[in-house]
């Protein structure tokens, strides 16, 4: 990439330091805007508490042990629900993508369910499983399994035909082609689909925890009920941090799982 050429500044790559500094700058500006807004007289503290108020609410609010318990409960539900979603969607998605008959069979149901908003399924889940752990895991599962299946099927269908023909002209069985050619060829797209879906899993966690007695989502709603807006912001910040952390993990591990991808 040419550097120092004024006409190409849009495409000039950044040094890691530049990247970090710019990212931090946006966060600093955001915090500054927040503080400035809280000084505007017409903005009620209930809507937008300032840093002092947030700090006070945090100190008088739930103890650290409660935050950790919520964190643990939420994480467990997300990981469990998502793990089950992967266990279901991986073989199903690959089968749908690779075998036209399976595709034709599952398409109507999967496509329809993909468009049903998970909150619409919430009453059903509560009816069937009450407000226990199973209900929450189910909500997360239902929220992610359909889109994940479709994304994986698409990844399989997008494998260049030339790779499959390579397998055929080498005399490989269909099974070997699937395992040694199709799956690795689709792996990068499957990985990215899993990463995106995991983000959605956290959204559905909060939806699931609206009813219940523990978890970040529950605490968030409880804080709102008690008008502790500072704690609501705390919960949102916590979710944002967790989301960012898991995405960072996915990005770091991409090279481990897919060493051949540039």
């Amino acid at each position: 990439m040419p550097t120092g050429n004024q006409n190409n500044w849009i495409w000039e790559p950044l040094s890691p330091g530049q990247r970090t500094r710019l990212g931090l700058l946006s966060i600093v500006i955001l915090i500054a805007l927040w503080i400035l807004l809280t000084w505007v007289p017409s903005v009620p503290p209930l809507f937008l508490p300032g840093p002092a108020r947030v700090y006070a609410q945090l100190r008088q609010g739930p103890p650290l042990a409660r935050w950790i318990a919520d964190l643990g409960a939420s994480n467990l539900r997300v990981l469990l629900g998502f793990a089950i979603a992967i266990l279901i969607s991986l073989p199903t998605g690959i089968a749908i993508g690779a075998v036209p008959r399976v595709n034709a069979f599952f398409s109507p149901v999967v496509e329809m369910m993909r468009y049903v908003p998970v909150p619409a399924l919430l009453p059903l889940c509560i009816l069937w499983f009450g407000v226990a752990e199973a209900q929450k895991v189910l909500v997360i599962l239902l929220g992610t399994v359909f889109q994940l299946t479709v994304a994986i099927a698409l990844a399989v269908q997008n494998v260049p035909k030339g790779f499959i023909e390579t397998g055929l002209t080498l005399g490989l069985t269909r099974w070997k082609i699937l395992i040694k050619i199709v799956f690795p060829a689709a792996a990068a797209n499957i990985y990215d689909a899993v990463r995106v879906s995991f983000g959605w899993a956290w959204s559905y966690l909060v939806v699931a925890e609206i009813v219940g007695s523990s978890g970040i989502g529950y605490s968030l709603m409880a804080s709102q009920r008690y008008l502790q807006t500072g704690l609501v912001f705390g919960g949102i910040a916590e979710l944002a941090a967790l989301g960012w952390l898991s995405d960072w993990t996915f990005r770091r591990l991409r090279g481990t799982f897919l060493p051949w991808v540039q």
Binding site: F163, T166, L168, T169, K180, A185
Partner: protein, 256 residues
């Protein structure tokens, strides 16, 4: 002993959604024979149907009428005995050279012979590398050995060196030819480079027109050990010039 590959009155056209009125099929009653152990070069203008012929012989396409015969049997689908090096870059990037080459290996005892082929192809020291670390010419050689190791008796090479620079082309041509000969395989070498065809093949087929016809069929005399000598000889050069002239007459100017 009969020909190893025979195309018998095969016709083929791609079914397109928009029918072109009065358009001729790609192949109509096309016939061709290949003898065991010979490298046949097929030279023709772009889009005339050479790749289609390669894919028909490989069994990836089924002719509309007529048949493809391999070792006396009708071809009904792809198999390891009829290998294909398709146009493009089809080394599997997630496997090392070793794993690529072993992909079609059904009998571990054949690995010794495979190592010999790797040596002839110049890949002996690249076994643990990934295809991305090799040049395009290197990757094509990997695909070549991979197909031979899987057990290809006849190999279709579809413009294998079109993307290679002129400097490296000649040595790669000879390496590929040597590897094919070492494996005892027959080959259909598709190229649009007439000079490349002259340097690698035992028999030259010039094709063109629509439907595709064989315009020129010539066995070539070879002196396999002295390529430079052959290129330098005036007999070769005169033959080459004559062929270029003839082919220019046979092919209509940029109509396809």
């Amino acid at each position: 002993m009969g020909p190893i590959v025979e195309m018998e009155n095969t016709s083929f056209s791609f079914r397109t959604r928009i029918p072109s009125f009065g358009e001729q099929p790609l192949l109509r009653d096309f016939s061709m024979k290949m003898v065991s152990g010979e490298i046949v070069a097929m030279v023709g203008p772009s889009g005339c149907g050479k790749s289609t012929i390669a894919r028909l012989i490989a069994g990836l396409l089924i002719p509309d009428s007529g048949r493809v015969i391999f070792k006396g049997q009708s071809v009904s689908g792809p198999s390891r005995e009829r290998g294909l090096i398709a146009q493009g870059d089809w080394c599997l990037p997630w496997f090392t050279v070793r794993n690529n080459v072993q992909l079609g290996l059904s009998d571990p005892s054949h690995w010794g012979k495979a190592k010999q082929l790797l040596e002839v192809a110049g890949l002996k020291d690249s076994l643990e590398r990934y295809p991305s670390e090799l040049s395009f010419g290197g990757r094509q050689r990997v695909c070549l050995v991979r197909a031979l190791v899987a057990g290809a008796d006849v190999l279709m090479l579809d413009e294998p060196l079109s993307a290679v620079d002129a400097v490296r082309k000649t040595s790669l041509e000879q390496t590929i030819r040597a590897t094919l000969k070492a494996a005892g395989a027959s080959a259909l070498w598709i190229t649009h480079d007439l000079d490349e065809a002259l340097l690698v093949s035992d028999r030259l087929l010039v094709v063109g027109g629509r439907p595709l016809t064989i315009l020129h069929d010539e066995g070539l005399e070879r002196r396999p050990d002295d390529i430079q000598g052959m290129i330098g000889s005036s007999a070769f050069q005169m033959h080459r010039i004559e062929l270029h002239r003839r082919v220019a007459e046979l092919w209509p100017a940029d109509r396809l």
